[in-house]
């Protein structure tokens, strides 16, 4: 019981912005707004919002590995793809009955984690770090994209599931909850919205606890100075590997939810563009903080979608400009910069009033 309570205390700490009653009141307010939002909107728009939420998990995975851990990984989209395809292959073969879609979700995420464990073992225990880690993960991602792209022929099938090359895999069943009056199928609508929102809240709070724990301390210590961290007796390879695997699982969750949302996944979800976009969201938001990452990701994604109406090429150029601006003005992230600026103003106001 005491151990359980101490978990709650870890919701706040040096590794995460936001503490005290004011922050949690704001959190509750935002959550209440998110819960009430479908009541004031239509199913289509709500479904569209789910699409934004889907990407937050992969953004959080990058925040974890890159922002907190200090290792830039281009491999997140590979894990996204592995889990997405994994879900498709499993559910197309075994269907959606008896709640199997949920087992498929877990298995697919587990698959991404397993691949990350193998790749991560090779990288971290081989002491590959810095730029080389970026290169290796990018190579794996692009290789996977190339491989999936050439699977158009009918011989590329796993059981009933055709891989379908560049056209991608489709028609996998959505998440389905078995129910007495007949199964509840979660199409991209209000039902899926609540499920994904619940996952988002759990993952966000879970990561806050993890990063403010002793484990999180070691992760940021490795980012700051790996040699010093090792010289305090930490086997840093183990910590890096675990972080990488957790990150891969989160990216995989994004992949499954993406596939579930559109009942569709293609190799381009692992391509160069797909691999760089999450980097931009996370860099713009503020990679070293979970909250800033979420706000940044949602803001940039909405902006991106608004611009896409005028043509996706403009939107991509805008992304590039945004990244350059961030690097020049607020290298730690625009959202994080603004939050820190407001915090400073408020504390100054308070100390002046005192």
């Amino acid at each position: 019981m005491a151990g359980f309570l101490s978990l709650f205390r870890r919701l706040e700490g040096p590794q995460t912005l936001g503490r005290g009653p004011a922050f949690w009141a704001l959190f509750a307010l935002v959550l209440a707004g998110a819960l009430a939002y479908p009541l004031f909107s239509d199913g289509y728009t709500v479904g569209n919002t789910v699409y934004f939420f889907v990407w937050v998990f992969i953004a959080l995975s990058l925040s974890l590995i890159w922002g907190y851990g200090g290792s830039l990984s281009f491999g997140q989209t590979a894990f996204f793809g592995i889990a997405g395809y994994g879900y498709g292959i499993l559910t197309i073969n075994f269907g959606a009955a008896y709640g199997f879609t949920w087992i498929a979700l877990l298995l697919a995420v587990g698959m991404a984690a397993l691949v990350a464990a193998l790749l991560g073992y090779f990288m971290f225990f081989g002491r590959i770090a810095g730029v080389f880690l970026g290169i290796v993960t990018l190579a794996v991602t692009l290789m996977l994209e190339r491989f999936m792209a050439q699977t158009a022929g009918p011989e590329w099938r796993i059981g009933a599931a055709r891989l379908n090359g560049f056209n991608g895999m489709s028609a996998m069943p959505p998440l389905t909850i078995p129910w007495f009056g007949g199964p509840i199928v979660l199409f991209a609508d209000v039902g899926l919205y609540y499920v994904v929102l619940a996952m988002l809240v759990l993952v966000y709070l879970g990561l806050r606890i993890l990063m403010n724990s002793a484990f999180g301390n070691v992760i940021v210590a490795i980012r700051e100075n790996p040699e010093r961290a090792e010289m305090l007796g930490y086997d840093i390879r183990k910590y890096q590997l675990i972080t990488f695997v957790i990150g891969a699982a989160l990216a995989g969750l994004s992949g499954v939810l993406y596939t579930v949302w559109g009942q569709y996944i293609t190799p381009s979800s692992m391509g160069m563009t797909a691999a760089s976009l999450p980097l931009i969201w996370v860099a713009v938001g503020g990679r070293s903080d979970l909250t800033a990452t979420i706000i940044g990701t949602l803001a940039v994604l909405s902006g991106f979608q608004a611009l896409t109406i005028y043509g996706s090429q403009y939107a991509l150029v805008f992304m590039g400009v945004l990244l350059v601006l961030t690097v020049l003005i607020a290298p730690n992230g625009l959202v994080l910069g603004v939050i820190n600026w407001i915090t400073k103003l408020v504390t100054r106001r308070k100390s002046e009033a005192a």
């Binding site: 101490s6 040096p14 002793a214 301390n217 070691v218 940021v220 210590a221 980012r223 700051e224 100075n225 040699e227 010093r228 961290a229 090792e230 010289m231 305090l232 007796g233 930490y234 086997d235 840093i236």
Partner: protein
């Protein structure tokens, strides 16, 4: 009993013979100073002891165990600890968190907080505890890293130029601290240029020159040794 023993340790960097058949015995409970001109191979010897470099030949024993092939973190867990020449504090984290990370594998909860407070007071960093370690002065960074090194409660503390950048008073305080830790049972091996500090703490001194053990003895014997004076003078002329 020998706590640390180096047997015929050799290390080459390309054609450079940085550590040349070094034999060194550190007795349990002593304060031992390692001196020698710049480039003599003192820091390299520390990195060999810590497992950051691996010797081309020779063995390293710690508390009777051959640790020559052990990984660094495993050596630390057996009771070694180090303060590097260039302070490697976690610059982007607060002073307090730096200490917490050093202490957390040994202490938890209230005991952890108490020990952090004690160390902050001991290091004279109470006022700076919320600051980022990167914003400390050079001397304060040295103190903080010494604090992190002793937080592990090591059996053998390695200090690489602990007083560099400190004022004479601070140097003296550091010396007193080392003696107090030693009195409590900690064995210390310190690389130091400041002869006042060496005189203050050292029970035995080893002179390293061109990667070789050049002389060994009490501080008075070393200071009286004309050959030792010559290598320092030689360097001054070079």
């Amino acid at each position: 009993m020998a706590l640390l023993q180096l047997r015929d340790v050799n290390k080459h960097f390309g054609g450079l013979h940085v550590t040349n058949s070094v034999n060194l015995v550190l007795e349990q409970g002593e304060i031992h100073c390692l001196i020698g001109p710049n480039g003599a191979g003192k820091s390299t010897l520390f990195r060999l002891i810590l497992g950051e470099h691996h010797p081309g030949s020779g063995q390293i024993y710690f508390a009777g165990e051959d640790i020559t092939t052990l990984k660094s973190f495993a050596r630390i867990r057996r009771g070694l600890s180090v303060k590097f020449q260039v302070p490697g504090v976690f610059k982007g984290l607060s002073v307090r968190q730096n200490l917490e990370i050093a202490l957390q594998s040994r202490l938890h909860g209230a005991a952890l907080d108490q020990e952090i407070e004690r160390l902050l007071a001991f290091l004279n960093l109470e006022a700076e505890q919320a600051q980022l370690a990167g914003n400390l002065s050079h001397g304060q960074k040295q103190w903080l890293e010494i604090g992190m090194a002793i937080a592990l409660k090591p059996r053998l503390l390695l200090l690489d130029e602990p007083t560099a950048g400190m004022s004479p008073e601070e140097t003296h305080m550091t010396g007193e601290m080392v003696r107090r830790l030693n009195a409590a049972g900690m064995t210390v091996l310190a690389i130091e240029h400041d002869m006042a500090f060496v005189r203050q703490v050292a029970q035995r001194v080893t002179v390293l020159h061109l990667g070789q053990v050049f002389a060994q003895g009490s501080i008075d014997e070393i200071v009286a040794d004309e050959r030792v004076a010559a290598i320092y003078l030689g360097q001054a002329h070079a």
